[in-house]
Every structure is written in C-alpha cells, then in structure tokens.
Amino acid sequence: MNEQAGTFAADQGLASCHTCGKVTPVAEQHCTRCHAHLHLRKPHSLARTWAFLIASIAFYIPAMALPVMNVSGLGTAAAGGSSGGSTIISGVITFWNMGSYPVAIIIFTASVLIPLLKVVALIWLCLAASGKLTGPPRSLALTYHITELLGRWSMVDVFVVAILACLVRLGAIMTITPGPAALAFAFVVILTMISAMSFDPRLIWDQRRGKKISTP
C-alpha cells in the first residue's frame, strides 16, 4: 500500500494536524481545515510529559497515605475500616478479609496497580523516545494505547467516595465524608492523563530513524 516507503511527513515540512489529521505545510501555522495550531511534533512533548508525570507521582504519596474517606458514628465497623479515616489500602484489606475478593481485586487494580503501571509505562516511553532505552516498536505502540485506554478507570475510587458521601448521612449512626486523599487521588488520575496526552509517539520513530525534529 505504501508506494513511497520511507517518506515521512516531517522531512518534507508537512505537519499532520493534531486535531483533524489534515496534512498541511507547517509554514501555514494554522490548519486550513480546523484552524488549530500546526506543529511538526507536539511542542515540548518530553518536557511536559515528564513534568506532569513527576507531579502525579508527588500526588500519589498523599493519595495512598491519607484517608480517602472519613467514617464517623456508631456503625463504622459494618462499613469497613476503623472509625475515623480509611485509606485506599485499608479498604482493599477490609474487603479481602470480608471475603469479597472480586471487589478487593477491582479496587486494588483500579486504584493502586493501574496508576503505578501507567507511571512505569510513561517512564519507559519517555526513555525510549529520548534514546536511553530501546524496545520493539510494536510493544511500545501497545503500551501507549493501553496507557491511554486505562487511565480514566482509576477515577472509580473518587466516584465511590462521592457516592458513599451522598448516601451515608445517617447523623449519629454513621456519616461518611470525603477525606483529603480523594482530591489527591483525582489529581493523580488527571495528571497522568494529561501526561499521556502530552506524549508524542512519533518521537519514538524519530529516535529509531536517528532524526531530530525541532519543534518551534
């Protein structure tokens, strides 16, 4: 299908629009079809990806260490967790001990495993794009797609807290309010999502071809 194998858009000064995909000379500055700004590559892609990544790691620590929701009242034992705060990890442990293995696995995967794997995947992609690591392009592509696809599902714990806080308002018997970790965790998810969006996968191929394409 590719009769002009080895032709790359950036070598000919052509930019493919980030928004609509139209191929236009980069000298036009704005896409003729959707009026978005044209760039050969996403501007400062690696620097931005690293910055958002480091910020998300910083938020990950309070998200795990602080209570994600505060449970007060008489019936606290029934809702899981000691009275006072319950962290994400202690919630998982409670469910595991109660025998609700599927729930424990869902929460552990969505809240602990996926954010961690996402950070590791983005670090690998960044290192591959800056030439410090190499990897087969197919698996790098797969990593990128999985990272983009899974990121949003980590938000599930934030919604659980919002739903429980809305329903469990029984005054003296039991009341649940969101803890400080809920907001920190929402920021972890948002920052890793922005980090993945700032990453430009074409940098991996530029690295393989040994080309450096400067972005204005």
């Binding site: 032709t7 493919s16 609509c20 934030v158 919604f159 739903i163 429980l164 806080a165 191929w205």
Partner: protein, 233 residues
C-alpha cells in the same frame, strides 16, 4: 444524479480525492485511499490504524445521540438509588452527589465530578447531534469547527462508565448496611452509557472532518442555494 444520501459500501465524499495522510504514530506519509464501508486503512510502516469508514456513521451518530439526550434527561430527573436506614432516607443522583460534596466543603471535587459526569457527556452527545444531523444533509451549522474541536478534546474526560463501575462498588460496600431501592435513573444511566459508546464508536474522526470540510466549502461556494446533497461518486 443520485438522490439517496446513504449508499451501502461507498466511501464518504472528500474535498480533495487525492489526499495524503501522515500516520499519527510514526509520521509516515502515504496516499489516503478511499475506503468502502467497514474497511480500515493501516499504516504501511508501523501497522497502526490510519482511519476507517464505519458503516452509516452519520445516521448512527445522530440516532444514538438523540437517544443519549433523552436518557440523560431521565437520569437527571430520577434518583439512581434510594437508601432507607435507621429511619433516614437518602437519595443518589449526579446533581445530588455534587451538592453534598459542596456542602461538605469539597468544592474542587464537586466541580470535577460535575465536569466528568455531566458537562463532558453533554458536550459529546449534544455536540455530535448538532454536527452529525445537519451533516447528513451536506450542511454545516455555524460554529461547527470550534464545536468539533471541543468534542474531540472533551472525549477522554467523559467518565460516566467509570461512575457506573463506582456505583457497583458502592453497592457492594453498602449491601449489608441498609435497604437499597433502585430507581428509574439507574436504568437510564446504564442506557445512557451504552448510547454514548454507540455515538462515539459510530464515527471516525477523519471522516467527520472530511465531511465537515466539504460541507463548509460548498456553503461558501453557494451561500444561498445549498439544498442539494453532497455529491457522491
């Protein structure tokens, strides 16, 4: 002269039939072939999907987004769940949960959840209806370009399906604490999630932009008489 607007197996009309496409993954430049319905073009260099022609994309997007808007109204009018415990009666809905979050002083969290579960899904469904319905008659309404860009940027932030998973987890947490009753809102929410998936899965990004470009071009050429449908080869 062809009068029918939907032809099975036909490629969508394009302003420049000999267009080029650069792979968004490896930047390889190649000719953009015109695809029959149901086909996809893969990059010759890295094998990523370049674009695909999804069957009856505009009518699918229109239909699913109308259905989604109806279910959205229902999901906001009725509670998802009512809980009876110790003489207390509490209800769950998207707006109610946002209101409680503000009452507890979590303004940012409340704003985020409103954006992810109310605003972004509304932009996706309402926006796509505004674009796709007139586009099946070869027309583009004012503001279509800015709106299509907005839709694309808010797509990853629409998280109703994640909310639904969170709802299931909450049920398991509450199951043995209180009496729970499902409301109409919950079934509307499930249907809404399915309809949003149908809306967004119905149309390819490049196809939407190609059709939009042609519609705008034709309106500029014939500012008054743009009643005939887009030419199809």
């Amino acid at each position: 002269m062809q009068r029918k607007r939907h032809h099975h197996g036909l490629a969508w009309p394009r302003l420049d039939p000999h267009d080029q496409v650069a792979c968004h993954f490896c930047d390889a430049l190649q000719a953009a072939p015109r695809l029959n319905e149901g086909d996809a073009a893969l990059c010759g260099n890295c094998g990523e999907v370049l674009f695909q022609n999804r069957p009856r994309s505009l009518s699918r997007a229109t239909g699913f987004s109308i259905a989604a808007l109806i279910f959205m109204c229902l999901a906001h009018s009725f509670p998802f769940l009512t809980m009876e415990a110790a003489g207390n009666h509490t209800e769950l809905s998207l707006l109610e949960s946002a209101r409680i979050l503000i009452e507890d002083g979590n303004v940012i969290l409340s704003f985020l959840s409103v954006f992810f579960t109310i605003i972004a899904p509304l932009i996706l469904t309402g926006g796509l209806l505004y674009i796709a319905a007139p586009l099946s008659y070869g027309k583009a309404l004012p503001g279509s370009i800015a709106l299509t860009r907005l839709i694309q940027h808010s797509e990853p932030w629409s998280m109703l399906e994640v909310f639904l998973l969170g709802f299931l987890v909450s049920l398991l947490k509450l199951g043995h604490v209180a009496d729970l009753h499902f409301g109409i809102g919950l079934w509307a929410l499930v249907a809404l999630v399915l309809c949003i998936a149908g809306t967004m899965g119905g149309i390819d990004r490049r196809e939407l932009w190609d059709r939009l470009e042609l519609a705008i071009h034709q309106q500029q050429k014939h500012p008054k008489a743009n009643t005939q449908p887009a030419p199809q080869e």
